[in-house]
């Protein structure tokens, strides 16, 4: 049976603004399937975003949604979770929003291990503002501001999140559509900061500058370069060069921030 996406979408909002073939639509569908699998109530779910193409996502979904300042989604989401700890808080954003402009908020949300699910749509570029390079643009690739190739090394979002203290870190790609909802659902069920990086395609500002003939070529590249975690464990560092390790990269149990804070409040009130 076809999945009924309409029950989670705001009526009259489609077609969405994303370009033909943009993977954000695939991530949105995965997110809705994950929400359905976890049976989250609309009134007890908040979806927060910053600025960017991926950050337009909350505009289409029928939940409590918040479209905030550039890069500040994690900060606003932290506020919601602290004020209303019973809420399921999800954050959606791009690589530029999440780890460049919002990098500071992102690492501190990871450090606190606050119970939220952060879905980063990593399309390797600042799409909405005209294709400027982001910290995730692969070295040597072209963007509107690096016409001779990007000289910078790239951020590994997974390692960044693990290093900053996130307790659930996973990665998948827009090609692996069924894995998107499985990993997001795992992230929602996880108590603590869950970061799910979805490698995404941007045919308009990234693809056409980097010799991808079509969006299908970009999808096939994800298929070729994705290596599941179990297989990656058997491969050498040289073999993994240029590949994307997909699956659950890290999972641990650590005290969650809101619970810790509630205990602190109790302790202070007993004084």
């Amino acid at each position: 049976m076809a999945f009924d996406y309409d029950k989670y979408l705001r009526p009259g909002k489609l077609p969405h603004i994303w370009c033909p073939g943009c993977g954000h639509g695939i991530v949105l569908k995965g997110l809705l399937r994950a929400i359905d699998a976890c049976q989250l109530e609309k009134n007890r779910t908040a979806i927060v975003s910053g600025i960017g193409c991926a950050s337009r996502l909350p505009g289409y979904v029928d939940f409590n949604t918040l479209h905030t300042a550039h890069g500040r989604a994690a900060a606003f989401a932290t506020g919601i979770k602290m004020a209303q700890p019973h809420m399921n808080v999800l954050v959606v954003g791009g690589d530029g929003d999440g780890v460049a402009i919002g990098g500071n908020h992102f690492i501190h949300a990871c450090r606190r291990n606050i119970d939220m699910t952060y879905v980063i749509c990593n399309n390797f570029i600042y799409g909405m503002t005209g294709g400027q390079f982001s910290p995730c643009t692969p070295t040597g690739d072209k963007a509107s501001t690096t016409p001779y190739g990007n000289p910078d090394p790239t951020f590994d979002i997974g390692k960044l999140a693990i290093g900053a203290g996130a307790t659930f870190v996973a990665r998948t790609t827009a090609f692996h559509a069924t894995q998107i909802d499985k990993l997001i659902a795992e992230g929602i069920r996880h108590k603590g900061m869950a970061v799910i990086e979805v490698l995404d395609d941007c045919p308009t500002t990234y693809g056409r500058r980097n010799k991808f003939r079509s969006v299908v070529d970009m999808m096939k590249r994800f298929k070729e370069l994705a290596v599941p975690v179990a297989k990656a464990a058997t491969m050498s560092k040289e073999e993994l060069d240029g590949k994307f390790v997909t699956g659950i990269l890290h999972r641990e149990e650590r005290p969650e921030y809101c619970e810790q804070y509630a205990q602190l409040v109790k302790r202070a009130q007993n004084l």
């Binding site: 999945f3 077609p15 073939g21 639509g25 695939i26 569908k29 069924t178 969006v215």
Partner: protein, 63 residues
């Protein structure tokens, strides 16, 4: 098993051709900037098109 019904919402389709490329039995074809169901009888309801369509434009009803 009856043949599944493939619904294309033309208003939403942006013609990215992802569904056409990933259909294992070549049920779909591009017709200009829109997708067209040309061989519905070959559909094996693997749902690849519906799963991958970024625009909510294609639905497979198994009934």
């Amino acid at each position: 098993m009856s043949t599944p019904r493939i619904e294309v919402i033309e208003q939403y389709c942006k013609g990215c051709s992802i569904c056409v490329e990933f259909c294992p039995t070549n049920v779909l074809e591009m017709d200009g900037f829109l997708v067209k169901v040309v061989r519905p009888e070959a559909c094996i309801s693997c749902m690849q098109c519906e799963l991958r369509c970024p625009d909510f434009a294609i639905k497979v009803h198994k009934d």
